[in-house]
């Protein structure tokens, strides 16, 4: 990546003639056109400048949605191995794939990135994610962008479906999709399908993510999480004994049964080509409340050849405890999806939206700051202490007025 110098929108294969025969519909019309922004009175929005590689995803996503150019400097400039990593480069390529007319410039060492967003295009795509990060890393950003494409997005992502760093695809499927539905992004085509599971380090998983397109989002008032009525989950195992999953389920139930009887954890053992390239197992748990709030927790085994061997019983117990921790934090949106909920609130119509969250994660806090610099939006943050003793920790009530975002990519007929 760094050696290549620049990720530019790839020009279409050598085109000696810019025209094509009439009966061959494949018009050599360039899909990605570098839009030379005209200067002058139609002023470009001011370029935002940041340093460091952290929060790269949110910056790129927000720049794309707000249409403001972005410059990121000093990406790992002090480190031995400076510049963008392969997974970041892969992410930038993905952004380039889903947009049309965006300009991305990276300097020789890869320590500076300039991004001028184009319009979100969507369509049927495929992307090979870097196995050093999970698909969740990519999927999280796609969840933010997908509702605002020109054509509804249908993308096949290949890579690591479950790992220890990023929210796994299972969790996103269980939590993010219901969240999107609450903002009016609904329909048959909204789905995440796990075709193959892939565990680190080699990956080999494959998912299909499709999302319909919306012009405007609905405001939400999401202040009462309600009480948890059931706990569901998935215990998966690939290229290991299928008994692992059962052992995990057993131990997780032993802890959760103290709180609730309605627990069902699916065991998902994938075989053959569907099991990816590396062995591993793990589980994700979701707690659903009567109001449709879904809180989640997950845990995966150490990748092959890294760290100590994890017992499935231990993992199951730990995962259950993590879920309890998440329940303690509470809120109407679980901690991984806080930023997604806040973004969709921001991009709503000019109405008041409210959401009750658990404690804000560092990622969310930074996201709020970014939201302010990209959209000039500030959230009203109120701390809510649970009135009664046994309702978990303190909650945060986030209120904002949407910016009246409308999908500029969508075509009208």
């Amino acid at each position: 990546m760094r050696s290549s110098g620049a990720v530019r929108p790839l020009p279409s294969p050598a085109r000696p003639l810019p025209f094509a025969p009439a009966d061959v519909p494949a018009l050599p019309v360039p899909n990605h056109v570098g839009s030379g922004m005209a200067g002058g009175a139609a002023g470009e929005a001011q370029c935002l400048s940041y340093t460091g590689c952290n929060f790269l995803r949110q910056r790129l996503v927000l720049a794309t949605l707000s249409g403001r150019p972005l410059k990121i400097r000093k990406i790992r400039s002090k480190e031995e191995d400076p510049g963008l990593r392969d997974f970041e480069a892969s992410f930038i390529r993905l952004i380039d794939k889903v947009t049309n007319g965006s300009r991305i410039e990276i300097n020789q060492t890869g320590t500076t990135l300039y991004y001028q967003p184009g319009l979100l295009y969507g369509g049927s795509l495929e992307h090979d994610c870097s196995p050093s990060r999970g698909i969740g890393y990519y999927l999280e950003s796609l969840l933010c962008l997908a509702p605002f494409m020109k054509h509804s997005l249908k993308i096949v992502l290949r890579g690591v479906t479950n790992d220890q760093v990023d929210p796994s695809v299972d969790v996103l499927k269980a939590t993010a999709l219901p969240l999107l539905k609450k903002f009016g992004i609904d329909g048959e085509s909204l789905e995440i399908k796990i075709n193959r599971r892939g565990m680190p380090p080699k990956g080999g998983g494959e998912i299909l993510f499709s999302c319909p397109v919306r012009k405007v989002l609905q405001p939400v008032q999401f202040t009462d999480p309600g009480k948890i009525k059931r706990i569901r989950g998935t215990a998966y195992s690939v290229r290991v004994s299928p008994q692992m999953a059962n052992r995990m389920v057993e131990s997780a139930r032993s802890i959760l049964n103290k709180f609730l009887p309605d627990i069902y954890i699916y065991t998902d053992h994938m075989k053959g080509v569907n099991s990816g390239k590396s062995p591993g197992f793990g589980m994700c748990l979701t707690a659903e409340t009567i109001n449709g709030t879904i809180l989640s927790a997950e845990l995966a085994s150490n990748p092959q050849g890294q760290g100590a061997v994890v017992l499935p019983e231990e993992l199951g117990q730990n995962c259950a405890k993590l879920l309890l921790e998440e329940i303690y934090r509470g809120g109407c949106v679980d901690s991984t999806n806080q930023s997604l909920a806040l973004l969709l609130m921001t991009l709503g119509q000019r109405d008041v939206s409210k959401v009750l969250l658990g404690p804000l994660s560092p990622y969310t806090i930074e996201f709020l700051r970014h939201l302010r610099s990209f959209f000039q939006i500030m959230f009203k943050i109120e701390t809510k202490t649970a009135e009664e003793e046994h309702m978990g920790g303190e909650k945060v009530l986030m209120t904002c007025v949407g910016i009246g975002f409308c999908n500029l990519s969508k075509t009208i007929r």
């Binding site: 319009l119 009887p261 008041v352 309702m391 303190e394 209120t399």
Partner: protein, 1278 residues
């Protein structure tokens, strides 16, 4: 008389009597009453056809739903901005007169000249902004976009003019505001009938344009150059009760119709470069949507800008306070028209000093020296900081003193407008003077510095608080943020201790301005007191003593000072606290300016410490005073080293924390708290907002200081940045890891989330058991009627008991009970409502209800917050009077400023400031006389903007291909694509070819709507490539001249080609030589003379030309002469350049050669094989008949000759006879026919008459019969 009596009786056909009769009659007949027909004859009323029934039902439902509009959330603010009334019409129609009359009608004031918008209060709940619209199409376009109501003036003596129609069309495109027609010049009609006719004619034409029934006003005549009072009054009434529909564009974008402009450029910059970009501020009511600071705006006629600052000001033309009166009194009939120069004086009195100060305090964002150097206004604006600074300078050079006086004098002069302020300032300056005198007497320099500074700060503070309530709030945080305990205690003590008037003063200033007089008195006494104190102290301590001593003092007191300093940053985080220290230190290290800042900053804590002193003991106070004094001296001496050392020492002290004074202890607590908050974040402190956004709103002081610093170029570090820097290169992960997992095996930990589950305890209002109980209570005791068992509501009984108990208990519980009851009632009602309404609640109703709820929520959410905070969350809401600062405005805008032209600031949504490809659906206007040509520049009005661009027209083919058109179709929509500003889909636009000058023709060339925004081109044009066969085999052919290389051919392999004669074929493969030649196969053999072509589509690049119409930058008087890029046609015409035509394109007389066809030659072999039918027949010419085949001649005998001659003669005679007879017969026939015709005619005549007679008789008979039958029926009825 007799005749009258003879009048026939008329039977009743209707009414009760007739009805009764009829009923009786029917009963007699046995048919019964008619109402029961349904009952009587049910079969006749059954459903004949289910399908038909369904259809009729469907149709009625369709019609019903058609009437619905999609409900939208009502986002109108509680106090809406003035309604924009645009008065439009052709020249000399009486626009200004109407405006003047309206203003006079509403406000009893006379405007001499109207320039720019005039805002008036027209009623208790409505204000109007009236603006005149000239005939310049630029103005018309701009104003149509912001108008709520259009008064369309029409000269009745002339009829409609083009301007009227143009304006109507502009309105139609940019959302249709309310339009009211006004007919003027009606007194020119002498003939009343003519007048009536004209009125009617104009009315109907107007109706077809607007909508049938649109209001058209008649202003019949002029009296002393004004319209009739009554008519204007009626017009005013109509305007002030009119309802407006929300227009999509207007409700989704913020906009300001500026009514005032101010230049803020540094005069020095202008002096150096008169053409430098300017900084201006524009004032006006915000309309439409919420405006956010730093957002992008467009000024039609100028360009795009980023708002550098927004602030809201007190309303210059406020609605009267709510009261029960029916009408406004004279005082409330305000008029505000700064551009017209009306009531500038009063305006200044009321507004100027206030908002200037507000402005300066809300955002002092340019460095002070810059401001000082700038205009008089800005000097005034920063009076507070200036004052303090100047005092500081004054200490260095006493000469400055006069300047200060001058300045205070200036302040006073300004403040003349407000009595209170003047008095205050007088007092303040008096006080100051007094103190100065005292100081001089004392001749104790350090003392004076201290005192003066205190005064300066205090004065600045007072100014701030006087300005407005908000400022008081702004001011507060410095204390509010500091430890609550301290303040609380001080407040408590403030009441008891009379000496502590300072505290009181602060509080009072917040609450009311009226008492300022008294407070000032207090303060002066207070300051005197202080001064006395200090004097006493200064005797003890010789400030000019050795440095070592000072140092020791510093080392003694530095911890405390530091601790106090940290109060600024509040109890947020340790990091912050340390940072604020950093700030301080760096400030101290900085230049004079920084030093002055530091002084200001340091002064606050000093005051705090002062207070402490007061609270606890006199002695302590003396200490603190000494300490602060020492410090200030230190600062004044710029002893940086000292300070640095001081800090080091302080840090050590912190580490030790052995010597914990009260303040230090408190601080420690704070850091601990902050650390907790920062690290764990589980415990979200009230300062979460601060944690996220850096500075809290309440902490306005600090924020503004930060801003100052930033602009001063001293500081760039804001806390979130710093925080993020630490983790700038950390792992980018959204997971929120649990840092300190709790032990979930413990019972208490488990119980902490016990109630999160359905198995846990429920809230009272949701718990099933509780609800059941409630129900029981609610319905109380009842008797089962069947069994006779009486059920007693035991809960009720219990309740009674409880109530009894409660009687003795205090009231709050009673109230709670009451509240509970109310809640219950409400819930019941809701339930009932839900049940009751369920019957006919449709989807539409639900939707409406939802929208209504949302609107209520929107209103309620930020209602209780003060504007300052609210603005941060929502942005500036419509209805506010705002001041918008813009930088980098072209100097022409200021130099050529003409108030007659409207200045509009239109807010742009997200990425609407960007440019890209825009696709439109466009239709040439049917009144525009020309058609439009692709690639000719066109001026579009789209969104807020007017700009020139080069559109390409296209049409969509059946397969979705966008094919380029050379011209717009005449009466059809076509697509258009251009490079220009991104505007949301569905936005309407209009196009004109030129905005300069006037033409008698209709100027609007095309209208349409935005369909799509894209970054890539999709328009193609047809391209035919031709080639020639150079070698022909049977059906295969080598073709050259079509392509230039093998690669090109490769691209087209398999493409369909065709010869001109219609033989189809396909490209096969490239040949090696000649270059670009290829092999192709055809369905038939080509000729060498054939031309082969391939049809291709070539993408057309759209010229990236976007040129905003900068009409407002033109010099005054030439603003309607903007001309952009010219079309080639125009240029040719202007320069007389003729188009050079291609010779081949010219028509020539067609000379066709005679075609010569060769004979068809069929090979012999083939001939043989052919069936006989198809065989060429050898019809060769017969040769001469040979002699032997000749027929012999016949020679007659003489006898035979004779016979034939005789026969010949006889036949001739006979023929003649026959001929003669024929002629004769024909004549006879003719005669006969003549006679016959005559006879026929006569016969016909006779028959006709006879028929006539018969019919007459028949008719009479019929009549009679009818009469008799009628009679009969009537008789029957009887």
């Amino acid at each position: 008389m007799e005749e009258k009596e003879k009048k026939k009786h008329r039977a009743k056909h209707s009414g009760p009597k007739a009805e009764k009769k009829r009923k009786r009659y029917l009963n007699e007949l046995g048919i019964g009453d008619e109402e029961n027909a349904r009952k009587r004859n049910p079969k006749a009323f059954t459903v004949q056809s289910a399908v038909r029934m369904a259809r009729t039902f469907h149709r009625t439902q369709d019609l019903k739903t058609k009437k619905h509009h999609i409900p939208v959330v009502d986002r109108t603010p509680l106090e809406p901005p003035p309604v924009v009334v645009v008065v439009v019409g052709p020249p000399k129609v009486g626009k200004s007169t109407v405006i003047k009359c309206l203003i006079k009608n509403f406000t009893r004031q006379k405007l001499v000249e109207i320039r720019g918008p005039v805002t008036i209060v027209s009623g208790k709940k409505r204000r109007l902004t009236i603006i005149e619209c000239g005939c310049d199409i630029n103005t018309m376009i701009d104003l149509a976009k912001v108008a709520d109501l259009v008064l369309m003036l029409i000269d009745a003596s002339f009829g409609f003019e083009m301007e009227t129609f143009e304006f109507l069309n502009i309105c139609q495109v940019h959302g249709f505001p309310k339009i009211m027609g006004v007919l003027t010049h009606l007194d020119t009609f002498k003939n009343n009938k003519q007048l009536k006719k004209t009125k009617k004619k104009l009315k109907h034409r107007f109706w077809t344009e607007v909508y049938p029934g649109a209001k058209l006003f008649y202003l019949s005549g002029m009296v002393h150059g004004e319209y009739q009072k009554q008519e204007i009054h009626n017009l005013g009434r109509f305007i002030s009760v009119m309802k407006f529909r929300p227009l999509t564009w207007q409700t989704s974008h913020p906009y300001v119709l500026a009514d005032r402009m101010e230049e803020l450029t540094n005069p020095e910059d202008v002096r150096i470069n008169p053409k430098c970009d300017r900084k201006i501020s524009l004032y006006g009511y915000l309309r439409g949507a919420h405006l956010k600071n730093k957002s992008q705006i467009h000024m039609p006629g100028v360009g795009d800008f980023t708002v550098s600052d927004v602030s809201f000001l007190p309303d210059p033309c406020a609605l009267p306070e709510q009261q029960k009166k029916r009408s406004l009194n004279e005082k409330e009939k305000l008029v505000y028209a700064p551009l017209s120069g009306l009531k500038i004086l009063s305006f200044q009195e009321e507004v100027r000093p206030n908002h200037e100060l507000v402005q300066s305090l809300i955002s002092t964002h340019s460095a002070i020296d810059v401001k000082m150097a700038s205009s008089k206004v800005s000097l005034f604006m920063d009076s507070a900081p200036l004052g303090s600074e100047d005092v500081g300078q004054e200490f260095v050079m006493p000469k400055e003193e006069r300047q200060v006086d001058l300045k205070t004098g200036r302040v006073r002069r300004k403040a003349v407008f407000e009595d209170d302020e003047k008095e205050n300032d007088d007092v303040a300056s008096d006080e100051e003077d007094d103190q100065e005198e005292e100081d001089e007497e004392e001749a104790e320099e350090n003392e004076r510095v201290l005192l003066r500074e205190g005064v300066a700060v205090r004065r600045a503070k007072r100014l701030k608080t006087e300005v407005a309530q908000e400022e008081a709030v702004n001011e507060l945080p410095a204390f509010a943020d500091s430890d609550d305990d301290l303040e609380m205690s001080s407040e408590e003590e403030g009441e008891t201790a009379p000496a502590d008037s300072e505290m009181e003063e602060d509080e009072e200033e917040e609450e009311e301005e009226g008492d300022i007089q008294r407070t000032c008195g207090d303060e002066s006494s207070d300051s005197e007191f202080e001064a006395a104190n200090k004097r006493a102290e200064s005797k003890q301590y010789d400030v000019n003593s050795e440095r070592a001593e000072t140092k020791s003092q510093i080392s003694q007191h530095s911890p405390k000072r530091k601790a106090v300093l940290t109060t600024d940053s509040g109890n947020c985080t340790a990091e912050e606290a340390s940072e604020s220290e950093d700030d301080n230190s760096s400030l101290e290290e900085g230049d004079d300016e920084g030093g002055s800042h530091e002084e200001l900053e340091a002064e606050e804590p000093n005051r705090n410490s002062n207070r402490n002193g007061f609270q606890h003991s006199q002695a302590k106070k003396a200490d603190s005073v000494r300490q602060t004094k020492v410090k200030t001296v230190d600062i004044e001496d710029d002893d940086v080293e000292n300070l640095l050392r001081e800090e080091e020492e302080y840090e050590e002290k912190i580490d030790l924390s052995a010597d914990t004074t009260g303040a230090l202890k408190w601080k420690e607590d704070l850091t601990q708290k902050a650390a907790e908050a920062f690290l764990r974040q589980q415990r979200s402190t009230p300062n979460l907002r601060k944690l996220v956004y850096g500075t809290a709103v309440e902490d306005e002081d600090q924020e503004s200081e930060d801003a100052d610093d930033e602009l001063g170029g001293l500081f760039r570090v804001s806390r979130p940045d710093k925080a993020s820097k630490q983790k700038a290169n950390a792992l980018d992960c959204s997971k929120f890891l649990v840092e300190k997992p709790q032990d979930w095996d413990l019972e208490e930990v488990m119980s902490s989330i016990r109630d999160c589950f359905v198995t846990g305890k429920w809230e009272d209002d949701k718990d099933a058991a509780k609800l059941l109980e409630d129900d029981e209570e609610l319905y109380g005791d009842f008797e089962d009627l069947e069994t006779g068992v009486v059920h007693k509501g035991k809960a009720a009984a219990g309740k009674e008991q409880e109530e009894d108990e409660k009687m003795s208990k205090p009231e709050p519980e009673e109230e709670e009970k009451k509240k509970e009851r109310m809640d219950k009632k409400r819930k019941l009602k809701e339930m009932f409502d839900a049940e009751y309404d369920e019957g006919d609640a449709t989807y539409f109703d639900d939707l409406k209800e939802e929208m209504h709820k949302q609107a209520q929520l929107n209103r309620a959410e930020f209602e209780d917050q003060d504007d300052e905070t609210r603005v941060q969350y929502e942005g500036f809401r419509p209805g506010m009077y705002v001041r918008i600062e813009i930088e980098n405005v072209p100097c022409e805008f200021v130099l050529n400023f003409d108030p007659h032209y409207p200045i509009i600031l239109g807010g742009l949504g997200n990425s609407e400031g960007n440019v890209g490809y825009v696709q439109l659906r466009l239709k040439k206007h049917r009144w525009y006389k020309k058609i439009l040509k692709t690639r000719d520049p066109l001026i579009l009005s789209l969104g807020w903007r007017r700009f020139q661009t080069i559109p390409m027209f296209y049409i969509e083919d059946h397969n979705g291909r966008h094919r380029l058109l050379k011209y717009t179709p005449q009466h059809m929509h076509c697509g258009a694509a251009f490079w220009g500003p991104i505007t949301p889909q569905g936005t309407g636009f209009l196009a004109v070819q030129s905005v300069s000058g006037t033409t008698p023709d209709f100027r609007i060339a095309a209208t349409g709507v935005v369909l799509d925004l894209d970054k890539s081109i999709t328009i193609v044009k047809k391209l035919k490539l031709t080639g020639f066969p150079f070698k022909i085999f049977k059906n295969t052919c080598f073709i050259k001249g079509m392509f230039n290389s093998q690669l090109e051919v490769a691209k087209f392999e398999g493409a369909a080609i065709r010869s001109v004669s219609g033989i189809r074929g396909q490209i096969k493969k490239a040949l090696r030589t000649p270059v670009g030649a290829f092999r192709a196969t055809f369905e038939d053999k080509l000729l060498m003379s054939d031309i082969v072509f391939v049809r291709t589509w070539y993408p057309v690049s759209i010229p990236t030309f976007y040129n905003p119409v900068t009409s407002l930058l033109k010099p005054a008087g030439e603003k309607d002469t903007w001309s952009g890029m010219k079309t080639t046609g125009q240029l040719r015409y202007e320069r007389g350049i003729k188009l050079k035509q291609n010779k081949d394109s010219l028509y020539k007389p067609i000379v066709r050669e005679k075609r010569h066809f060769n004979k068809l030659h069929i090979p012999k072999a083939l001939q043989k094989a052919l069936p006989f039918k198809n065989k060429p027949k050898n019809l060769e010419k017969k040769g001469k008949t040979p002699k032997d085949q000749w027929r012999p001649a016949v020679i007659r005998e003489p006898h035979e000759k004779k016979i034939s001659a005789l026969l010949n003669a006889l036949s001739t005679v006979n023929n003649y006879k026959i001929k003669k007879a024929k002629v004769k017969h024909r004549e006879q026939l003719k005669e006969y026919l003549k006679v016959k015709q005559k006879e026929d005619e006569q016969k016909f005549k006779r028959q006709k008459e006879a028929k006539k007679k018969v019919y007459r008789i028949l008719g009479q008979r019929e009549k009679k019969r009818q009469k008799s039958s009628l009679k009969g029926s009537s008789q029957m009825r009887k």
